[in-house]
Amino acid sequence: MPDATFLDSTELVLNMGPQHPSTHGVLRVILKLDGEKVLGTDCVIGYLHRGVEKIAENRTYAQFSPYVDRMDYVAAISNGLGYCLAVEKLLNVEAPPRAQAVRVILTELNRIASHLLWLGTHALDIGALTPVFYCFREREEALKIFEKYCGARLTTHAFRIGGLQYELYEGFEQEVKAFCDMFLPKVDEYEELLTHNRIWLSRLKDVGILTAEECKEYGVTGPVLRAAGVKWDLRKAQPYSGYEKYDFLIPTRQNGDTYDRYMVRMEEMRQSVRIIRQAVGAIPEGPVMAKVSKVIKPPVGEAYVSIEAPKGELGYYIVSDGSTQPYRVRVRPPSFVNLQALDRMVRGALIADVVAVIGTLDIVLGEVDR
């Protein structure tokens, strides 16, 4: 942050404290202002730090997987998928095709749920009070499917190392198909509410521009990178869990401003429905769990596996020393790395734009702080 002296009367230091309705969690942003214009920001994080990486060193591999859901608590299934893929890589096993197809369906439903929550809260921050109710209503339908499958709505613990614990319940395919059919017109409804709305346009266009070069420098991934024009998605670049079988597009836009990120995420929801429809139509038969011993003891080594979480690249770097407990688990959180770019995006903007930019980065403090 540039020098702040208390005697300088034109600059004001304002605290957008940890308790704030628009910071999506306990995020503290210290704003240095000149009137209403932002000259610099300083993010103070760590209010939700729970020491997940330290806990991992004291639990066995299977015991640690419920903790992983609680990092990005909005989209818990992706976290579970990343962790299970990382441990499976260390064990050198692969989940059977049926498990992979179900994993893809649940992960894409989870992506839709996460984007719905993002849209609802982002619109709420900007001032549009209606979309949040509709988004949460649709999110309920997705959460009902999670509840029927694995027993919990939010902290799902859906995947196990080696595959799935539960077989599909009766009526899973019909319910997922019904959800897809119900949901696609709803995306059009949200667009009707927001996309051409003049208030939305003037709040979001040309706000928080992050060009492709800046994105790569800051290591920003996910919809933010795609809105800047870089057509990169880990599901296409380094496919995992059977994504290469499905046909979908990667939405990109040119400007890299907040409006483009909104359009990219709306289009991603539609592409997710497309993936789910393809996957549900063709779930292969077979076992749902690979041959993994009861006591998981990977050989000495390390692996880094990353997936395309709804918020960006979520990576797990696991170091094993041959015992039943991991030696080190490092979680590379997309929200943590994306939040660094906040400073660059709000230089010269107004305070209201800070709220819009925090919303558009789609951060979840559980993941930033772990």
């Binding site: 639990r59 299977a62 015991q63 640690f64 419920p66 903790y67 609680r70 209606t130 509709y134 209503r137 309920e140 009902k144 509840e147 029927k148 499958y149 694995c150 027993g151 919990a152 902290t155 613990h157 614990q165 539960y166 319940y169 409804e189 009707e192 509410l193 927001l194 051409h196 709305n197 003049r198 208030i199």
Partner: protein, 152 residues
């Protein structure tokens, strides 16, 4: 273009949004659940309050005292003791303590139980007035929580 100018003056885009809201005002779209008058139906696999099952025919506890649930729990909140029953020559569970205040309802104990004794049921009303009331004994585990029923 005259058309876009007229659209701007007559607030067409704002009315489009308002029309969506008005459409959703029909009473059939009400989504609110009237809890606690009607208790929501939770799924069969819902991970709620734990319960120790009894054999439906004989009424004997199904627990064989193997301690696998305690070993599987990430929080180490299950404490059980067992002793060998001389008559049947088998291990029998004597005391069972389950601390629901630290439980994260992950279901690992339920997955680990070999005899389907420990099960996470559909009860989700687990609030108590004291911290000690959150630690469940064997009897509370077999009966389940008894929340107050509110009816309007």
């Amino acid at each position: 273009m005259i058309w876009s100018f007229l659209k701007k003056v007559f607030l067409v885009d704002l009315f489009e949004g308002l029309w969506v809201t008005f459409r959703n005002q029909k009473t059939k779209y009400i989504y609110t659940e009237q809890y606690p008058a009607e208790r929501p139906k939770v799924a069969e696999r819902y991970r709620g309050a734990p319960r120790l099952n009894l054999n439906p025919e004989t009424g004997e506890p199904l627990c064989i005292g193997c301690n696998l649930c305690a070993l599987a729990c990430p929080e180490n909140l299950i404490v059980m003791t067992s002793e060998r029953n001389e008559k049947t020559k088998r291990k029998e569970m004597k005391t069972f303590l389950f601390d629901t205040s630290r439980c994260m309802f992950c279901g690992l104990c339920e997955d680990a139980c070999p005899s389907d004794a420990l099960e996470l049921t559909q009860d989700f009303e687990l609030a108590t007035y004291t911290r000690e009331g959150q630690v469940w004994t064997k009897q509370m585990m077999e009966e389940g929580p008894k929340p107050t029923r509110y009816t309007c």
